[in-house]
């Protein structure tokens, strides 16, 4: 029999575990970011055609003492590499947290941020953007903007289609997402077929990659994704209750339909922003939440922040591999996430016999 103080100590133990997990992931992420700025063509770590940045130079530059070193060293590390890593982190965070939230909302382990047409809509928007008569400098942002508009309006459309008599069932939402998704996939194929010269560019975007990274992009993406992600964490308790089913969540005082709507809006904002700049990077939003669920359990108060941090860590790391492994060319990171993510996920599936939510 458990004694008087044990509920408190049980709670303390859980809270301690929460702090430990979040601290460990945060430290790992920080160290990884630091380490990854040292990796790439010209080094200090990684392939090099000839000239190589010395480790001392890289460290000096990172700590703000770049005067003694050539300007191109600083530019490579601070203006090319660091924003790309940070964009990777942000995109990874947003995809993973959105995936975790979608799996909770749909009570479906197959759910990911793209499940109700986000990626399909983004793809149509992106493809359509190449047909807009825009000048080069605005054209750079036309694709992300159109992709974002395509993504969010598709989610809205899917939601409206699924709504009948003022109610939306998640199952209907899922199915109408599939219906709209396959329709839009056909539209995208057609636009790709017509795209001519732009085909290669679009195709790269569709495969998913972080080559659009720059400080400007990071500053656009950062506020949206960080605020959205923080807001999503506030719904952790609602998501827990919603996993028990709509009716039980209602009994516990949760306005399920309202929360669902808010969560769909927030995830499409957060994931839509990520997709706009990085293209369709698969698997992060699916497997990171599952990996975290195996490690930390189904409780969203820990699952959401853990997935966020792990997603950032994972995507930035995989991207570092993607940009160095066959340098001077790079592999689209979406290809690599699937290449290494899928087998690892299969291994996890074999190893653990857990419930999948």
């Amino acid at each position: 029999m458990i004694g008087e103080e044990t509920i408190v100590s049980l709670f303390e133990r859980k809270r301690h575990r929460w702090r430990l997990t979040i601290a460990a992931l945060s430290i790992a992420l920080t160290l990884a970011i630091f380490f990854m700025t040292l990796v790439g063509s010209m080094g200090p770590i990684g392939p090099s055609g000839g000239e190589r940045i010395p480790l001392q130079a890289a460290l000096d530059i990172l700590f703000g003492e770049s005067e003694n070193w050539p300007e191109n060293f600083r530019a490579i590390i601070m203006d090319i590499r660091l924003p790309r890593i940070l964009l990777g982190v942000l995109v990874g965070c947003s995809l993973a947290v959105s995936g975790a939230v979608m799996q909770g909302v749909f009570k479906n382990p197959m759910a990911d941020p793209y499940i109700i047409g986000l990626s399909a809509g983004a793809a149509v928007g992106a493809s359509a953007s190449t047909f807009l008569p825009l000048k080069q400098d605005i054209g750079m942002y036309a694709l992300p903007l159109m992709a974002f508009i395509g993504a969010t309006s598709t989610v809205f459309l899917v939601y409206q289609i699924a709504k009948s008599r003022g109610r939306t069932r998640v199952e209907t939402l899922l199915l109408s997402g599939i219906a709209v998704g396959s329709f839009l996939a056909a539209v995208t194929s057609f636009l790709l077929y017509l795209s001519g010269q732009q085909f290669r560019f679009l195709f790269f975007w569709l495969l998913g990659g972080l080559w659009m990274a720059s400080w400007k992009v990071v500053w656009i993406v950062f506020p949206v994704i960080s605020i959205g992600t923080v807001l999503l964490q506030l719904f952790a308790r609602d998501l827990n209750a919603m996993l028990l089913g709509e009716e039980q969540a209602t009994h516990l005082g949760i306005d399920v339909k309202k929360v669902e709507k808010i969560l769909l809006a927030l995830t499409s904002l957060v994931a839509g922003t990520a997709v706009a700049f990085s293209g369709i990077i698969g698997f992060v939003g699916l497997i990171i939440p599952h990996m975290m669920r195996i490690r930390v359990g189904p409780n969203h108060t820990l699952l959401l922040p853990a997935s966020t941090l792990a997603g950032g860590l994972f995507l930035a790391s995989v991207d570092t591999v993607a940009r160095t492994i066959i340098a001077p060319t790079e592999i689209p990171v979406g290809v690599l996430t699937a290449l290494c993510g899928a087998p690892f996920f299969a291994y996890l599936l074999r190893k653990s016999r857990r419930v999948w939510l």
Binding site: T6, V8, E247, T250, L252, G297, V355
Partner: protein
């Protein structure tokens, strides 16, 4: 604390489920909601916690319309224990019960010491504290049900709605669970509204019962007023015997299947001379086949007497533990004369009921067919010092002796079929469809 329902009607699409339901429950009351499948019980509970919002009628909690409550406010007032609660995710018991605090903690809050206290108290009350760190899906059905109740209690509700809380529980857990609910009701004063299928559990624990039928309240009130054989037959279409439980004195509702088979329709009247429960089963079997059954003389309080009464038979009763009086004897003979067949079951014979054997002898004299059921030897049933044995020996010479109730029933059916099959050869003008009825009625008139 008062929960009041006024003129509540609810329809899914165009199918009306609840029609003008009105009742109220007050502080410390335990209300059972009963009715056949599809009578609207669960819908009623759903309306009471605003999972469904009825267009017609209102639900009032302390005079305030439920529609004006926010979800949080409802959760703090009404706890719900759903039917067959399932949890797909690997949550621990503690996590699940803590979810009951969601409405108190709020979106921006954190779990306070008080929240943990309430959770602990809820776990203690439901005897699930030792399960706190276990995963919900590894628990037994009874444990799960208790955990879900703990979760509802963590909401600190003033009303607890339970939808068939005992379903899927074995008899021990059923009793424990009802004990728990009763404790919450009586000690903490939580208003309980629970849907039950088990008439006995409900009548034993509820202060009052609502009987729903096709979305209407058929009866409402104390269990003994609501659960009568008549109301149950009308609503469930099942015949029951309602008695008092010998130990708890609670109502005890025992159903029996009345298979009114048309094929075996017979209008014969069978008189039973029985006692001590030896005739109860046969009474029902004969009734099922459409026969009229009478019985006598039986002491009031005798099992067979009670069965006969609850089945609505004509029966001659005698004051308990007394000899058969001349009056009763005569009344019994009158019933025997009206019957086509007499059955003598194997009940113990003492000086008190010896005259029943005399009555059987009278029947034989009037050439009424007599069946004697003999599953225990006469010697073991004789408490008259041999007089009964003499009677039995004489009776058996003229009567048909069968070994069991089942055999007796078959013999009675055979006898009637014989009577039926003889006639059609003579009456080949009549249509075969009506033959049976004619034969049966002739048999009665013989």
């Amino acid at each position: 604390m008062r929960l009041e329902i006024r003129g509540l009607s609810f329809s899914y699409e165009s199918t009306p489920i609840l029609k003008n339901v009105a009742f109220s429950v007050g502080q410390g009351e335990f209300l059972g909601v009963m009715g056949p499948n599809g009578s609207g019980k669960t819908t009623l509970l759903r309306c009471m916690c605003k999972v469904l919002e009825p267009r017609v009628g209102t639900v009032l909690i302390d005079g305030r319309d439920l529609r004006r409550f926010t979800r949080d406010e409802i959760a703090k007032t009404v706890g719900v224990v759903p039917q067959i609660p399932t949890v797909d995710a690997a949550f621990t018991v503690f996590e699940i019960v803590l979810m009951g605090r969601a409405s108190h903690i709020g979106r921006f809050g954190a779990e306070s010491a008080r929240d943990l206290e309430v959770v602990e108290e809820a776990l203690k009350m439901t005897d699930t504290l030792h399960l706190a760190d276990r995963t919900f899906d590894e628990l037994s059905g009874g444990e799960r049900q208790r955990v879900i109740i703990a979760r509802a209690l963590a909401q600190e509700p003033r009303v607890l709605l339970l939808d068939e809380p005992t379903v899927h529980l074995d008899i021990k857990y059923q009793l424990e669970l009802l004990e728990l609910i009763e404790r919450l009701n009586k000690q903490i004063g939580i208003v309980i509204v629970a849907v039950f299928h088990d008439l006995n559990l409900a009548s034993q624990h509820c202060d009052s019962i609502i009987l729903l039928h096709n979305g209407r309240i058929e009866a409402i009130g104390a269990p003994e007023r609501v659960l009568t054989p008549e109301s149950i037959r009308r609503i469930y279409g099942v015949d029951v015997v309602v008695k008092r439980h010998p130990v708890t004195n609670a109502l005890h509702v025992a159903p029996y299947l009345s298979k009114k088979s048309d094929r075996l329709k017979s209008r014969a009247t069978v008189h039973l001379v029985c006692g001590g429960g030896s005739g109860s089963v046969l009474m029902n079997l004969l009734l099922e086949r459409g026969m009229t059954v009478t019985a006598g003389v039986l002491n009031v309080l005798d099992t067979d007497y009670e069965t006969a009464r609850s089945l609505g038979l004509s029966v001659v009763g005698e004051i308990p533990f007394s000899m058969i009086t001349d009056e009763s004897f005569a009344a019994n003979l009158a019933l025997i004369e009206q019957s086509n067949i007499l059955v003598l079951t194997d009940f113990p014979i003492g000086p008190g009921n010896l005259r029943n054997l005399q009555a059987v002898e009278e029947a034989l004299k009037k050439s009424i067919p007599v069946f004697v059921i003999e599953s225990t030897p006469d010697q073991q049933r004789d408490f008259t010092g041999g007089i009964a044995l003499e009677y039995m020996a004489r009776l058996k010479k003229k009567a048909i002796v069968v070994r069991s109730t089942k055999e007796c029933l078959q013999a009675i059916i055979d006898l009637q079929e014989q009577a039926c099959s003889l006639k059609p050869k003579e009456l080949n003008t009549s249509s075969p469809k009506n033959t049976e009825n004619i034969e049966a009625s002739e048999l009665v008139n013989e």
